[in-house]
């Protein structure tokens, strides 16, 4: 059943995906409202899917598919929070495709891939997943915002009449969305890494710093910190900030991909 609900959600997110592509070329109030409603409906299905999974006791914390589904849901929640504060659907341009992709993979009719290692502390693991995923979602939004910032900056500099009627919110609003999610994401990311280390230590007795997963996670965290620092210290934004955000995002993807190479964080079909 949870899979069925998830597929309903996927159908709704598809509308969001289409919106993401259309919004880049034209502005339509009606369409952004449709996308918003579709996304909300998708979230309801998604929530039902996750809740059912959890309540039925089938939630497998070490399942990749469950993880993807959860990450997608958290990212959508972020999107909704931003909409509630800033009344803009434009971050959807970046968030929707990612959410759609994650949900799509999660909704595949395959046996979930599981972490091979045996984990003794379920509570720590759950905390680790929640925290790190929130961090990821925040990073995603921040990355999206920096891209939108570039886009809006370019439009304003191009000085075309369309710069007045673009679908994008004001430059400073985009900047704030990016900066706030960056600030919000940082503690989650940090705590997520700490809890992850705790899980690793309790499982293996030590943390292997040469493991690709650990290395890439650390790299991602360092870039994240550099982003927060340069922004706080010298107000980096625009091109330079987008460059850093892209770097952090790629590092995050690499850290995720490292699951397939890491000895301690490996998933395998059960």
């Amino acid at each position: 059943m949870p899979l069925l609900w998830l597929r309903f959600a996927l159908a709704c997110y598809f509308i969001g995906l289409v919106y993401a592509f259309v919004a880049l070329s034209r502005t339509s109030d009606l369409f952004s409202r449709i996308a918003l409603h579709a996304a909300s409906l998708g979230m309801v299905f998604h929530f039902v899917s996750l809740a059912e999974l959890f309540l039925s006791g089938h939630m497998v914390w070490t399942s990749v598919h469950n993880g993807e589904s959860l990450l997608a849901f958290i990212s959508m929640s972020f999107f909704m929070v931003i909409y509630a504060i800033y009344k803009t659907t434009s971050p959807g341009v970046v968030v929707f495709p990612v959410v759609f992709f994650l949900t799509f993979v999660a909704a595949l009719d395959e046996q979930p891939v599981l972490l091979t290692a045996f984990v003794s502390h379920k509570g720590w693991l759950a905390a680790h997943i929640f925290l790190i995923f929130t961090g990821y979602a925040a990073l995603l939004v921040s990355f999206g915002a920096s891209l939108l910032y570039l886009l809006q900056e370019r439009r304003l500099k191009a000085k075309k009449p369309s710069s007045l009627i673009s679908f994008l919110p004001a430059l400073e609003v985009i900047d704030q969305i990016g900066y706030r999610s960056l600030l919000l994401g940082f503690p989650f990311m940090t705590l997520g890494l700490i809890t992850g280390s705790v899980v690793a230590i309790t499982t293996y007795g030590h943390v292997d710093f040469l493991d690709p997963k650990v290395l890439l996670s650390l790299l991602m965290w360092v870039v994240y910190m550099v982003m927060v620092f340069t922004r706080w210290n010298s107000g980096w934004r625009g091109r330079r900030a987008a460059f850093l955000a892209t770097f952090a995002f790629v590092a995050a993807l690499a850290a995720w991909a490292a699951n397939y190479f890491s000895a301690i964080h490996r998933f395998a079909a059960s």
Binding site: K157, K159, P161, L164, A170, L171, S234, G235, G238
Partner: protein, 443 residues
């Protein structure tokens, strides 16, 4: 109707060209004098705003070398400016002036400032005697037409001025304008207006810098703002989010290095420069910096292009009004065209009468006062009766297009002038003493 006009506007010429042709307010009177002293020009005036520079003249023979005037006055090579010039004559010149005054030719169609600017240019030229009868008629009519367009159409309503476009752009950059700081550099009406708009949308504080510190104080007081000495401009400017600059400086006062300083001190928070000065105050290089957004007069025009579409319909109605006004003006001008002919006809017959009376006096000797009065009345009566029909015909013809033909015929019949072509060209001038003498001597 020997109006001739040459100029550039925001559509025909880029800002770089308009900058070179712009005439500062202080030099306008001299330029007008120079213009009227130029060969072939009777009356002349110059309109120089940030969007247009136009030279309007009434010429001696319908064709003066206005391009030559521009080249010599601005020391320009023809190839630099000629591709951007437009030239109108007679009816077309009248239509153009009507359109300009009615703000149909403006960057922001319907904005009200242009009428004021034309009025000022007119007053300046009039004060130095460069505008007399012909241009006077043209412009008083143009002002009336502008008023008619304004009251009868919606072109001017909810006017999207540069100021409100500036506000919209500021909102695209800063979102909410509450708490933002505005810096006015160079106290002028335009920048004052823009600042007023920005304040109305929430901008909190304001700085004013001006070469003349007293003017800065005056303007700052109006806004409850703070006047800044011009020397402190660069050290305080980074405190402003929005800078409206409109100084008369011949060169850019904000250059790339200034922008870099501002951004460093502002921790890269964006700045918005609204540059309404011509020549520009902000070097284009500075606008390329990340975080600095510069809109000059031309850019603002592009930004408002979207709004103009809404008014197209109203503008069409306004164009119809202008077309009918141009017809009326032309008809009226023709009426004026026949007046000199009538006057010289009267003069001609009067001279004949006087000569005949003198001849009769010579033969009859001294006349009694009663006889004098009788002869006077008799001859005058005959002449008036004879003249009645030609004059009525002339006046009627004047209202139609055939005026020149009739004028021609009358002149030939009474031998008022030998060459018909010359007659056509000269008859529009007020009759001078010289003309009368010519008529008299040809008997």
């Amino acid at each position: 109707m020997r109006y001739q006009l040459i100029g550039v506007n925001h559509k025909s010429a880029p800002l770089e060209v308009r900058e070179r042709l712009a005439i500062p307010e202080s030099r306008l009177p001299d330029t007008c004098r120079e213009l009227t002293a130029y060969p072939g020009i009777e009356e002349g005036m110059v309109i120089s705003t940030c969007n247009r520079v136009e030279v309007i003249t009434h010429t001696v023979n319908g064709s003066a070398d206005l391009r030559g005037f521009l080249h010599s006055h601005f020391h320009l090579k023809p190839e630099e400016v000629d591709p951007h010039l437009y030239e109108f004559r007679e009816k077309d010149a009248v239509r153009h002036i009507f359109r300009v005054a009615s703000s149909l030719d403006s960057m922001v169609v319907g904005e009200a400032q242009i009428l004021g600017q034309v009025k000022e240019a007119y007053a300046t030229a009039r004060a130095v005697g460069a505008v007399r009868g012909q241009l006077d008629q043209l412009f008083s009519r143009a002002f009336a037409v502008a008023k008619r367009v304004r009251t009868e159409t919606e072109v001017g309503s909810s006017s999207v001025s540069i100021a409100s476009v500036a506000v919209e752009l500021a909102k695209k950059i800063f979102g909410d304008l509450h708490g933002k700081t505005v810096f006015i550099v160079g106290a002028g009406k335009m920048s004052e207006l823009a600042a007023r708009h920005l304040m109305a949308h929430g901008c909190a504080s304001i700085f004013v810098a001006n070469r003349t510190y007293e003017r800065a104080i005056g303007l700052a007081q109006k806004f409850n703002g703070q006047a800044i000495k011009f020397d402190d401009l660069y050290s305080t400017c980074d405190r402003a989010d929005i800078v409206i600059t409109s100084t008369g400086a011949p060169h850019a006062i904000f250059r790339r290095e200034h922008g870099e300083q501002f951004l460093a001190r502002r921790k890269n928070r964006p700045m918005f420069f609204i540059d309404i000065a011509v020549p520009r105050d902000v070097a284009p290089e500075m606008g390329k910096l990340d975080g600095i957004f510069t809109y000059d007069v031309d850019d603002l025009q592009q930004a408002v292009a979207g709004h103009v579409a809404d008014r197209r319909q109203e503008a069409e109605r306004a164009e119809a009004i202008i077309a009918s006004e141009v017809e009326k003006f032309e008809a009226r001008a023709h009426t004026l065209d026949v007046v000199p002919t009538i006057v010289s006809l009267q003069d001609h017959l009067e001279t004949i009468r006087q000569a005949e009376i003198d001849r009769v006096r010579g033969r009859m000797g001294q006349l009694t006062p009663e006889q004098e009065i009788a002869i006077e009345a008799l001859t005058r009566g005959i002449i008036n009766k004879v003249m009645h029909t030609p004059i009525t015909t002339l006046k009627t013809a004047a209202k139609e297009a055939e005026a020149t033909t009739v004028v021609d015929v009358v002149r030939r019949l009474f031998n008022l002038q030998v060459k018909a072509k010359d007659a056509q060209q000269k008859d529009a001038q007020p009759v001078s003493k010289k003309d009368k003498d010519e008529v008299g001597s040809r008997r």
